[in-house]
């Protein structure tokens, strides 16, 4: 499915279940997400992680709501199943789409200005370097006998200094390679939204609305 269409559908559904209180709806969305992930053959390890970890946090929240609040069993069920629905809806997108695919689709289908698309993509591609830099900053301080915690301003200060330098360099590099803001670009790979994508997304959304009117919890 086209990444923009998929993301829109998933976000609309995730937003919807934040306001509705249907356990059935949440369970069906979780199952749909699970099936979609199985079709895309995600790693068993990831699947196991997605199935167990959210359960622990959902259980902690539900226990708190029942113990410290006035939540009914139905409401507790809604909150618990809602968390799983979020996780599997999100997974159905993030585990099957790469940042590059999303960027291309947002540029060509959602017409997001290219400076945002390529600017953010350039930063995302620097992630391994960012990880290394944070480790370097911390060990450099360690060598002087200073431990930088997550509440130490110096840690963030040095990170921002690196970000200032890298953003300058990257923007210059992109410009010198011929990138011009706010000008039309040609594309090697064109991404389109097929009629099938629209039909699937809209009909799935409408079908799911039916669940809310069923006499089920």
């Amino acid at each position: 499915m086209n990444p923009t269409v998929k993301l829109t559908l998933i976000m609309v559904l995730a937003l919807e279940i934040s306001f509705t209180q249907s356990i059935t709806m949440n369970v069906i969305l979780t199952l749909l997400g699970l099936i979609y992930l199985l079709i895309h053959r995600i790693r068993w390890q990831t699947l196991f992680y997605f199935l167990t970890i959210p359960g622990l946090f959902a259980a902690a929240l539900v226990w708190s709501l029942l113990y410290q609040g006035t939540a009914t069993n139905h409401f507790a069920g809604v909150i618990f199943s809602r968390m799983y629905a979020y996780v599997f809806l999100g997974g159905a997108f993030s585990l099957t789409t790469t940042p590059y695919q999303l960027a291309q689709s947002l540029e060509q289908n959602a017409h997001l200005p290219t400076k945002f698309v390529y600017g953010i993509l350039a930063a995302v591609n620097m992630l391994p370097r960012i990880r290394r830099e944070v480790a370097t900053i911390r060990s450099a301080a360690q060598m002087r006998g200073v431990t930088l915690h997550f509440w130490s301003p110096v840690l963030y200060f040095k990170a921002i200094l690196a970000a200032l330098k890298w953003s300058e360099n990257t923007a210059e590099a992109m410009t010198s390679h011929g990138y011009v803001e706010d000008t039309p670009r040609s594309h090697v790979i064109t991404i389109s939204i097929s009629r099938c994508d629209y039909v699937t997304a809209v009909s799935l959304f409408i079908l799911l609305q039916g669940i809310l009117f069923l006499p089920v919890p």
Binding site: L56, K115, I130, I160, L164
Partner: protein
């Protein structure tokens, strides 16, 4: 000048890099969140783990807003961080993106209320207040906070504000003070258009 034209490639990369840096630093503390949740769960107080640390997750917003000083910077600082976290396969996926947008709106609102003119303690304090109120409202809906007894609810709200005040206010101010002393603020080193 329209808001979109005040955004240049360099500011966008800077903003995204800052969100990513913060994301990587927060990644280090995620075991802390797990441990806090585990400790607080037997007493039925698990949400306090979230309240204590929420300021850390909401920090990219005020830092970006204060540094770049253009409208929507605080929102994008939060939102890009959440989007990247989702794309990298965070388990919270869809709710990450929604939460990022909500936190972004909350942080941004503080800067909007000053008309993007004043950048001082008051602005950061205001942003901490708005982000607390907006995200708390969202948790009332999403996580069912509405069903808590009033004293506990007020306790959660107070802890959330203190967390946002410390990380989004005190710590953010300390960071920008350092940047100021290094003469990288407002001297052309930060892209202010």
């Amino acid at each position: 000048m329209s808001h979109s034209s005040s955004w240049h490639l360099r500011s966008i990369i800077l903003l995204a890099l800052i969100s990513l840096f913060f994301g990587v630093i927060f990644w280090v503390i995620s075991p802390l969140y797990d441990v806090l949740t585990a400790i607080l769960t037997p007493m039925g107080l698990a949400p306090f783990a979230n309240e204590i640390l929420i300021g850390v997750w909401c920090m990219a917003g005020p830092v970006a807003g204060y540094l770049l000083r253009i409208p929507v910077a605080a929102f994008l600082g939060e939102f890009i961080g959440a989007a990247v976290e989702m794309l990298l396969g965070s388990q919270w996926g869809a709710s990450d993106l929604i939460a990022g947008a909500i936190q972004g709106v909350g942080s941004e609102l503080g800067f909007t209320l000053t008309g993007y003119k004043r950048y001082n303690w008051g602005t950061l304090l205001l942003s901490a207040v708005t982000v607390t109120l907006v995200t708390f409202g969202w948790d009332m809906i999403k996580n069912g906070y509405g069903s808590y007894h009033l004293p506990l609810l007020l306790g959660l709200l107070a802890v959330r504000f203190l967390s946002n005040f410390f990380f989004g206010g005190v710590l953010t101010k300390a960071i920008v003070n350092l940047l100021d002393r290094a003469h990288v603020l407002g001297t052309g080193a930060t892209p202010q258009n």
